[in-house]
């Protein structure tokens, strides 16, 4: 069987600050890298999901008889077949594994079918007879808290209300701008669909090979649904075809395990693209009402905002998205007086949760449009008004947190402003480069060029008091006469390049070139989530700490054998050397046949929950700042646009792998551009 993603090894240099090749790069260009949808076992069968066609309905009855009678079908399962608690969720376990009496969104899983061919399973699923009674629905986030709105859950439609209050609530200003904004739903659309293989185990448990962003939080939720202890449900990360937040929540995980345990056979589930859109959370649609007051020079006096995030039918990470959207809702600017209300609500829309930017993106659309409007109203330059009000190190944000590291808003804007502009279109025009492109909608008449600037900031790591840690196990041993490092974490590699970073840190800390990245699984402690831009920092921190612990032991061992103090020795080039660089012993000799292994948990500095009445507090660990400049041609008759250039400057701190950082910025910018244009 080929269920486990291969462990990967790279020989050569590639330390911190270098940009070595990915250890999985060759496997990926040759088609040999095993993604979750590539898994295969000799006697495996296929699982499919039957989903609700209604956004809100009561289930009067379900008849599985015709489906179960289909030749080739092994099982048809309903809510009653969930042995543990039929509920999961990242923050609140409010989402059923299979709908129990009611469906709350179109696409909610109702039944599972396993068969020996995926098409037979799909056909059989159509033979499950569900009698629905449609119920009144709420599908507009702005109406969800109305007294007469249909309730999605018994406790009402409010997921979270975050209040931020700062300064004088009655303050006025000579210039006032007030606008409304709306941001639609966006999908992560990672290319590798939700997939996995669940294999029933001899101990009565199950092994799940799956594409995810956080193995241990999946494991906890699966165990609750299966009614099994942690040790009976083991997860391994298979190849992940992108994530962008869409794999933070469970999709087919419990379903495949249920079918495997029920049939005693390995069960593979692979969503197609349509099901993938139903099968994961999306970026929240948002409705934003903003009012800014400023003095006549453009200096901000106050910011007021009312923001509603439509969380859809289940909470997922809505409360944390509200946390981000509210606390960073007014952007990286100094506001002496603040009044923000940020709501997350339930509706009968598809559930929304994590997607790249996580609440900051919707707010950025509003706060940057507000800055443009304010500049135009006062008659000052749009860039200058941002530089005038932009945060600098030592400023407070709207929750009263002091930004105690670089906050280079004005500098980032200056950098993008000073970049060369693309040349103006002259002479013979290439239709492909005009708005509308090969559709031949214009030959350049009525096309004008605009330039826009925007800045934003976003937290790095989990916030508001979350115990955000990662675990790393590092082993140093002699293999075939040479020192070899094995680094084992459960932190998910989803394409971003964490496996490369883990190798770079080990090489740098232990002075050993050969580093094997152990397959990611739950046999080591949690690595935390691959989200919030946190893995390089937090799992990277854990790997570094584990290396330091290993190094300490190795140098103590070397100190005894060479008769020098451990603190006068270091590791370099596979040797134990003196501080001056003189070789004292071979590392392989010091290690002999006794490996050194250490496992370490690492945490970033703690954050705090914000005050429930004022929203004040040190909610976030640290921030990343960015500025963009977009050059856009617009056909003013048709409204078609062509992005001619999108430039960005971002404060990334120290780039551990500059090429990978650039790759992330390219990809993130393209996804942001997609939201802006589509």
């Amino acid at each position: 069987m080929s269920a486990q993603a291969p462990s990967t090894t790279t020989i050569g240099t590639g330390r911190i600050g270098d940009s070595p090749a990915r250890p999985d790069g060759i496997l990926k260009v040759t088609g040999e890298f095993a993604y979750a949808s590539d898994l295969w076992m000799e006697d495996m069968i296929w699982g499919v999901t039957l989903r609700s066609p209604h956004p809100h309905a009561r289930i009067r009855s379900v008849d599985i008889g015709p489906a179960l009678a289909t030749p080739g079908v092994y099982a048809v399962l309903l809510a009653d077949d969930v042995p543990g608690r039929n509920a999961f969720g990242l923050e609140h376990d409010d989402q059923p594994v299979l709908a129990d009496g009611v469906v709350r969104y179109q696409g909610e899983p109702v039944a599972l079918v396993a068969a020996d061919h995926p098409e037979i399973a799909r056909q059989a699923a159509k033979r499950v007879v569900v009698d629905y009674e449609p119920l009144p629905r709420v599908t507009d986030g702005r109406r969800a808290l109305d007294p007469d709105a249909p309730t999605v859950h018994p406790d009402g439609n409010l997921v979270r209300h975050l209040k931020i209050r700062k300064g004088d609530p009655e303050v006025t200003a000579p210039v006032v701008v007030e606008l409304d904004f709306e941001v639609g739903m966006q999908d992560q659309a990672f290319l590798g669909p939700e997939s996995g293989l669940a294999v029933p185990a001899e101990d009565g448990g199950v092994d799940l090979y799956v594409a995810t962003q956080w193995l241990h939080v999946d494991q906890r939720q699966i165990c609750q649904a299966l009614g099994m202890p942690l040790e009976k449900v083991r997860l391994s990360l298979s190849g992940v075809g992108g994530a962008f937040g869409g794999r933070e929540d469970l999709s087919m995980h419990v379903h495949a395990c249920l079918l495997a345990l029920h049939t005693g056979k390995p069960v593979k589930m692979v969503y197609n693209r349509e099901e993938s859109f139903f099968g994961h959370v999306h970026r929240h649609p948002a409705y934003l009402h903003y009012e800014y007051g400023a003095d006549e020079d453009g200096r901000l006096v106050y910011g007021r905002a009312n923001i509603v995030f439509d969380g859809g039918a289940y909470a997922s990470s809505t409360a944390a998205v509200v946390g981000n959207g509210g606390t960073m809702g007014l952007g990286p600017y100094r506001f002496p007086n603040v009044h923000v209300d940020c709501f997350g609500v339930y509706t009968n829309n598809p559930p929304c949760g994590a997607m790249r930017g996580f609440g900051c993106v919707q707010a950025a659309f509003a706060h940057e449009a507000m800055m443009d409007e304010l500049a135009d109203r006062i008659g000052v330059d749009r860039l200058a008004i941002r530089q005038l009000n932009g945060m600098t190190e030592g400023d407070q944000n709207i929750t009263g947190q002091v930004i105690d590291s670089a906050a280079p808003v004005a500098e980032l804007l200056r950098i993008v402003h000073d970049l060369p502009l693309p040349p103006a279109a002259t002479g013979e025009l290439d239709l492909r480069s005009l708005p509308g492109g090969v559709s031949n909608t214009t030959h350049g008449e009525s096309v004008v060029r605009g330039i826009g600037y925007a800045v934003t900031y976003k937290n790095v790591g989990f916030s508001e008091g979350f115990d955000d840690y990662s675990t790393a196990r590092v082993r140093l041993e002699t293999v075939a006469g040479e020192p070899l490092v094995t680094v084992h974490t459960a932190a998910a590699e989803v394409g971003q390049g964490l496996v490369t970073i883990e190798q770079q840190i080990c090489r740098t800390e232990l002075g050993v070139d050969r580093v094997v990245v152990h397959p990611k699984d739950t046999s080591v402690g949690s690595g935390g989530s691959t989200s919030a831009s946190r893995q390089t920092y937090v799992t990277g921190g854990a790997v570094k700490a584990a290396c330091e612990a290993v190094r300490r032991l190795v140098l103590e061992r070397a100190a005894v054998s060479v008769g020098q103090a451990a603190d006068s020795l270091r590791l370099e080039g596979g040797k134990v050397v003196s501080l001056g660089g003189e070789v004292v012993a071979g590392l392989a000799d010091v290690l002999g046949d006794q490996p050194v292994e250490e496992t370490v948990e690492w945490r970033h500095r703690p954050t705090q929950p914000v005050d429930p009445e004022t929203g004040q507090g040190n909610a976030h660990v640290q921030y990343a700042f960015s500025a963009h400049r977009a050059v856009v041609d617009v056909d003013t008759e048709l409204g078609l646009v062509k992005v001619v250039a999108l430039d960005t400057a971002q404060d990334v701190g120290r780039a551990l792998n500059p090429a990978a950082v650039v790759g992330q910025i390219h990809g993130g910018s393209a996804q942001g551009m997609g939201l802006a244009l589509m």
Binding site: I26, E32, L191, G495, H666, G667, Q671
Partner: protein, 160 residues
């Protein structure tokens, strides 16, 4: 039904194929060649691109029966036994691979482009790869990779 095709230079025969199966399904699930990817299965993303009688196609849109008696080359058949295809090497070197799910399709499409047009212009590269979606890279490094492969292949040509 039984299907007989040549895949990556090797004659392959598979039995019990259901008429509704795509070439992609047969490659992935019946021939043990999962390199061609199943990202959309509706001809939008190009991640399943293979060569069918020398022409790039979306394997998800080709009924398995249509491949009967024909020649298929997948990403697994692109490299020589002892060396990667220059496009494969360039994708690794240029940093054009992140999650990699689009990569097999892009590598096959780019190799086809460079065979037809060894020194493509940027608009030509964009057009040739317009049927291949990537969600990670923003495409910049993919364009870099194709230019790099073209340069290296032209260099190798001159050196010969």
């Amino acid at each position: 039904m039984r299907i007989t095709t040549t895949v990556n230079g090797e004659r392959r025969e598979v039995d019990d194929v259901w008429e509704g199966e795509s070439l992609l399904y047969v490659l992935r699930e019946r021939m043990g060649l999962p390199g061609s990817k199943n990202a959309c299965e509706q001809g939008e993303c190009g991640s399943c691109t293979v060569m069918l009688d020398g022409v790039p196609v979306c394997a998800c849109l080709v009924a398995a029966g249509q491949a009967e008696g024909r020649e298929v080359v997948t990403v697994e058949g692109l490299a020589d036994p002892d060396a990667l295809h220059p496009v494969q090497t360039a994708f690794v070197d240029a940093g054009a691979v992140q999650c990699g799910f689009c990569t097999p399709g892009l590598v096959v499409a780019a190799a086809d482009l460079l065979q037809r047009s060894p020194r493509p212009s940027d608009p030509e590269i964009r057009e040739a790869l317009a049927g291949n979606l990537c969600r990670c890279t923003g495409y910049e490094k993919i364009l870099d990779a194709v230019r790099l492969a073209a340069d290296r292949m032209a260099g190798a040509e001159v050196a010969r």
